[in-house]
């Protein structure tokens, strides 16, 4: 099976295997689904809770996520760290097509084998992540030191991307009116760091940072003991970028020190499985299975199984329940 070879190459951190692996996990044809399953199941088991630092970068359109990522990549390359990036853009609901425009800003990827960028269209996942993103992160994590996921923040995607990464960064523009909206929607509870970008544009950044800081104090105390930080940066001239990187590393150290990393990844996997099953079988299917609670119990008890295997196993169980319901 081709996937065995692919897995070997990925586990040996062979960059050249990454495009093929990403094409495979995106492939809907049944035969390829099986191969893809075998690959991902193995990768997740072998990489486990190790592998790359996984960081999500979210925020309003045009806030400078890609430009900031580019600056971060440059800083990481100076430290000889390799970087893999998945950049998700929305699809047009009318045509199903998409213009994938983040690469334009991720210039430091050009010609550097230590950097990898794959753009993904969100397809029918309006405002959400692409289906292949979760699996894509798994592939990149095997090969690169750092993995970033860029996604436009429009509400739903924050919680999805939060489940996918160890550290979530929210990029805000100075004087962004939608900041309040985000706060109301409770989205400020997810990110571990807030970056007020474009400080080169003037003092408005100070105000926005102060507002954010004040807004955060109103929020609930974080359950994992990490107090979110507010940072200022200019992706354009590079100011504050090292501090952003350091904050990301600090959060990672915090997760490792508190044992939060394992728990966070476990929860992320469960959220992914639940999402996938709910989307596939709808609330009726879940109800037939015995309801949300039963499902959560089933997922919670499945220690040691990869998320991909879990989807497959529980899907069978749901299908059996559905078949019984029909009989």
């Amino acid at each position: 099976m081709a996937s065995t070879e692919l897995a070997e190459r990925l586990l040996a951190r062979d960059r050249a295997a990454v495009p093929d692996a990403l094409n495979l996990i995106d492939d809907r044809r049944p035969a390829r689904r099986d191969e893809s399953f075998a690959l991902l199941d193995r990768l997740q088991r072998e990489v486990g809770d190790g592998g790359a630092l996984r960081v999500g970068v979210t925020g309003a359109p045009g806030s400078g996520k890609s430009t900031l990522l580019d600056a971060l990549v440059r800083a990481l390359r100076r430290r000889e760290r390799s970087v893999g990036i998945i950049a998700v853009d929305p699809s047009s609901p009318k045509s199903g097509g998409a213009l994938l425009g983040d690469r334009v800003r991720l210039r430091s990827a050009a010609g550097d084998p230590g950097v990898f960028v794959r753009s993904m269209a969100a397809r029918d996942r309006l405002g959400g992540l692409a289906d292949a993103t979760f699996a894509g992160v798994e592939v990149l994590c095997a090969v690169f030191d750092w993995v970033f996921v860029e996604t436009v923040g429009v509400g739903q995607s924050e919680s999805e991307v939060a489940g996918l990464v160890d550290t979530l960064a929210f990029v805000a523009q100075p004087a962004a009116g939608d900041l309040l909206q985000f706060m109301k929607a409770g989205i400020v509870e997810l990110p571990h760091l807030f970056v007020v970008n474009k400080t080169d544009l003037g003092p408005a950044a100070e105000r926005t940072a102060a507002e954010l800081q004040a807004g955060l104090r109103l929020g609930e105390a974080p359950e994992d003991g990490w107090a979110p930080v507010v940072l200022r940066a200019s992706a354009r001239d590079g100011g504050g970028v090292d501090a952003v990187l350091e904050a990301m590393e600090a959060h990672r150290r915090h997760l490792e020190a508190t044992g939060g990393l394992k728990e966070r990844r476990r929860r992320g996997r469960i959220a992914f499985v639940r999402e996938a099953l709910v989307r596939r079988y709808g609330s009726y299917g879940i109800q037939r299975f015995g309801g949300r609670e039963k499902l959560d119990e089933r997922l919670g008890a499945a220690e040691g199984s990869s998320a991909f295997r879990l989807v497959r196993d529980v899907a069978r169980e749901i299908e059996t329940a559905l078949a019984e319901a029909c009989a």
Partner: protein, 401 residues
């Protein structure tokens, strides 16, 4: 004043002479609004570079207008024309509104940076292309009155109707540059560049060190490299991601359906890369192709102008695209396309490539022989048809029909 060349066609190119005359009237008839200097394009504008004879023909238009008519004897012949006054007032008002909008954004630099300007350019071009495609806007010889006698201006040897640049020209230019560099005082050059670098790093006035550099014989390239080393290179917004598709035509829906079906067969939606290799800044065609590909349901990676063949191949591989579309209007298609093809082969990527731009017939044949699947030029105004063919090309390359 340079008049509009975008409306000059590859199809029935002799008609361009009439267009050029009309355009020259537009900028000369009114004495008060008369241009100070006029440069007219040539009849073969959309075919390639003009030869001296083609330029002479355009120059004669001005001379005939100046010497054989009484235009220059009169005051402004539009004085008192209500129609012209009203039309002018409209234009002035619309321009003021536009300027105000840009000022409100923080000025032209901000409007470039936030993609406003580029998006408006792409959108208005999208509208224009659609009108031509649907026949709402008639372009004689292109989408109407297309039946024609063979053009006597373009028959004969391939390339006989445009200026063909001598292959040695590049080599000679490089030799001249090298000779120029050899006779400079290298110490002075280095000192001037060091001085420029210092001033740049300290945020000082660049003019004095630039003038010093010019006197020392520092070349434009070296001067720009010094700036690039500090500031990096600006990547302008591509302007393509704004705007949503208008109501789709029946043909568009049909191609959309074929795109979707092929995506199912391939296991994932069609993904393409539209790339512009080289220093060619003509982005209009690539932008329209990218936007339309999105509108027929493709996932499109478009990274703007000035990519190297190496970057294009890397993007194509990393992004996992099914097809590469190159757009080249600079005349360098020979070298650049071959370079891309060679690198694809070296990378073991069996990806179909299509090319569009100002490509003379003979070159198009050579490119096709080298493995390019389709070549498009300005006469191919039917973008929906181009999209349909790109779907076919991907299907063919996967052995699906």
């Amino acid at each position: 004043m340079q008049v509009n060349s975008l409306g000059l066609t590859e199809a029935q190119p002799e008609n361009n002479v009439i267009r050029i005359v009309l355009e020259s009237l537009g900028v000369t008839l009114s004495k008060k609004a008369r241009c100070r200097a006029l440069q007219l394009p040539a009849w073969n504008e959309a075919l390639g570079l003009p030869r001296p004879w083609d330029q002479q023909w355009s120059l004669r238009i001005q001379q005939i207008l100046a010497c054989e008519t009484d235009l220059l004897d009169h005051e402004d012949i539009f004085d008192g024309s209500v129609v012209i006054e009203a039309r002018t007032a409209e234009l002035v008002e619309a321009s003021r509104e536009e300027l105000q909008r840009v000022l409100d954004m923080g000025g032209a630099v901000a409007a470039v940076d936030n993609a406003y300007m580029k998006q408006r350019l792409v959108e208005s071009h999208t509208a224009r292309v659609r009108e031509i495609e649907s026949g709402e806007r008639i372009v004689v010889g292109l989408n109407a009155y297309t039946e024609a006698e063979p053009s006597l201006l373009t028959t004969g040897d391939a390339g006989a109707s445009i200026l063909v640049v001598d292959d040695d020209a590049e080599r000679e230019q490089i030799e001249r540059l090298q000779a120029f560099r050899r006779q400079r005082n290298q110490k002075e050059v280095e000192a001037a560049l060091a001085n420029l670098g210092d001033v740049l790093a300290n945020g000082g006035n660049v003019m004095p060190p630039s003038i010093r550099a010019a006197h020392a014989g520092v070349t434009t390239g070296e001067w720009a490299d010094a700036l690039r080393a500090l500031f990096g290179e600006y990547r302008a917004p591509t302007g393509v991601s704004g705007g949503q598709p208008r109501a789709a035509s029946a043909e568009t829906l049909e191609v959309r359906e074929r795109t979707r079906k092929l995506g199912e067969k391939l296991g994932r939606p069609l993904k393409i890369l539209v790339g512009k290799p080289g220093l060619d800044g003509h982005s209009n065609g690539a932008e329209q192709i990218a936007v339309r590909a999105r509108d027929v349901g493709m996932e499109v990676v478009y990274d703007g102008i000035r990519l190297t063949p190496e970057e294009i191949v890397q993007s194509a591989r990393d992004e996992g695209v099914h097809l590469i579309g190159l757009s080249i209007l600079s005349g360098s298609h020979g070298v650049l396309v071959m370079d891309v093809l060679r690198r694809l082969q070296e990378a073991g990527l069996d990806l179909p490539v299509v090319v569009g731009g100002i490509i003379p017939d003979a070159d198009a044949r050579a490119l096709t022989e080298a493995g390019v699947r389709r070549v498009y030029t300005p006469k191919d105004f039917d973008l929906t048809r181009i999209m349909g063919e790109m779907v076919d090309v991907v299907a063919e390359s996967h052995g699906l029909h």
